[in-house]
């Protein structure tokens, strides 16, 4: 039988072991944190916007957790560059699963979408559409 899960393809493991944009931004336009209490995954997303206050210039993430949540955050951090906040809000779980390029078992979807939800909630708070302290993917 093959080596390990279909879920743990090279790309995911690569992002997990060598996360892109890991760390915190010096001067983020907004910052938000979230967690998946079931797994203990925790992620902080820092986003810096261009002068148009609409286009994402830079993203950084930090935190720890399982390979799926961390790889998804790493991939998302590169994916979001140049996107608008509107495009960010339009993303859904299928986009994340496409981005990861593997089937995510139902119980692990919460891990996969954590970074996306944190970025979206962060943007919504920044735009005054939401008021939460912390995002969770429990519900």
């Amino acid at each position: 039988m093959g080596l390990g899960s279909d879920m743990y393809r090279q790309q995911i493991l690569d992002h997990y072991k060598n996360p892109r944009n890991y760390g915190q931004l010096e001067d983020p336009t907004f910052t938000h944190i979230g967690e998946n209490p079931m797994c203990g995954d925790e992620i902080r997303m820092d986003v810096e916007l261009e002068n148009d206050e609409e286009t994402i210039e830079r993203v950084a993430f930090s935190g720890d957790g399982c390979a799926i949540s961390q790889a998804a955050a790493s991939m998302l951090s590169t994916e979001l560059r140049g996107k608008t906040l509107e495009e960010l809000q339009a993303m859904d779980r299928d986009d994340i699963i496409d981005m990861l390029g593997v089937d995510i078992s139902p119980m692990r979807v919460k891990c996969a979408v954590l970074a996306e939800k944190v970025a979206q909630d962060g943007a919504a708070i920044y735009q005054g559409d939401l008021d939460v302290e912390k995002t969770t993917t429990e519900d």
Binding site: G4, S5, M7, Y8, C39
Partner: protein
Amino acid sequence: MSQRNLEPLDVASIREEFPILQREFDGQQVVYLDNAATTQTPDPVVDAMSDYYRESNANIHRGIHHLSQEASRLYEEAHDRVAEFIGADGREEVIFTKNTTEGENLVAYAWGLNELGPGDRVVLTEMEHHASLVTWQQIAKQTGADIEYIRVDADGRLDMDHARDLIDDDTAIVSAVHVSNTLGTVNPVSELTDLAHEHDALSFIDGAQAVPNRPVDVAAIDADFYAFSGHKMAGPTGIGVLYGKQDLLEEMEPYLYGGGMIRKVTFEDSTWGDLPWKFEPGTPQIAEAVGLDAAIDWLEEIGMDRIESHEQELARYAYEQLAAEGDVEIYGPEPGPERGGLVSFNLEGVHAHDLTSILNDHTIAVRAGDHCTQPLHDKLGVAASTRASFYVYNTREEIDKLVAALDDARQLFA
């Protein structure tokens, strides 16, 4: 007391009664090591329930017709069977609930809400399951009572000196888990109960992980309340047991109301029926009671002493095999009589959820997470752990498969 029978189990023939253990996913036979969450159900138990529906089904409670009389008898006798199994005085002391959690809630509401107040102390352990921890936390908030937690020491055992400090004359109840579902620790529950009684406090023992796999005698423990679940002891889901001492149950008000639990009802008021029915309003889980009765027959036929030693042996084997790996951290006490049949661990460098997904690729069923003991995991300094838990039908070969599959995780995450 009769001689303890410790003859090894005939696991091969036991497994024949569990068709589910033959199931395959992607051509690999299931290795079921998630028994602390729920155990599998042997054919005789499934048959007892389907026979009930095929032959005896009716509502209980004062039915005059044959079928109702038969269903009532089966339901009531299941209480007697449980009473005998755990050493209770009789059916009056055996309340059927949905599960352990409901047993905790029943006592917390029916007793706690009425009896607790500011200045009273509820003593729990740091290894309580959320079933008891969350329940007492909320009742304490509502009543103004304080909660204190008996410390867990570095070996995963209760610090009994701390217990002696905490349990004082202000203590109203001590609620402790008999066998920890995370650490596997077998706690000195009669000693805790004695401590509670020395200070006129009650004791509630959560036996969800004890009754399935060792002889339990509530009278010997002298517990005031003792709760467990059918689905963790080869029985069905949907039924649990709350044992309570008769004099306490007599004094307690019901916490659910309705039909079947009353003596006399007028437009103005109602009086309560006899124990245990006073705490079992509405149409209860009759088929499940029949299933639980059959599960107890099935377990006793094998022998609880033998089941206990089988589990202890598997836990020892798993502990030793995992410990020998070098990159595995195991939680809880060393193998022996003070450890039940489960092992929670982490593989260095691999998150418990990733490990569990990889084990699932080998059709090995284990559990990852905090096992409903989040504060305990905080204390252990880990967000999650992987738990392998064993039952009568598990074998050393299955543990070997688990240990071998760790290599996959190592290679992927190296």
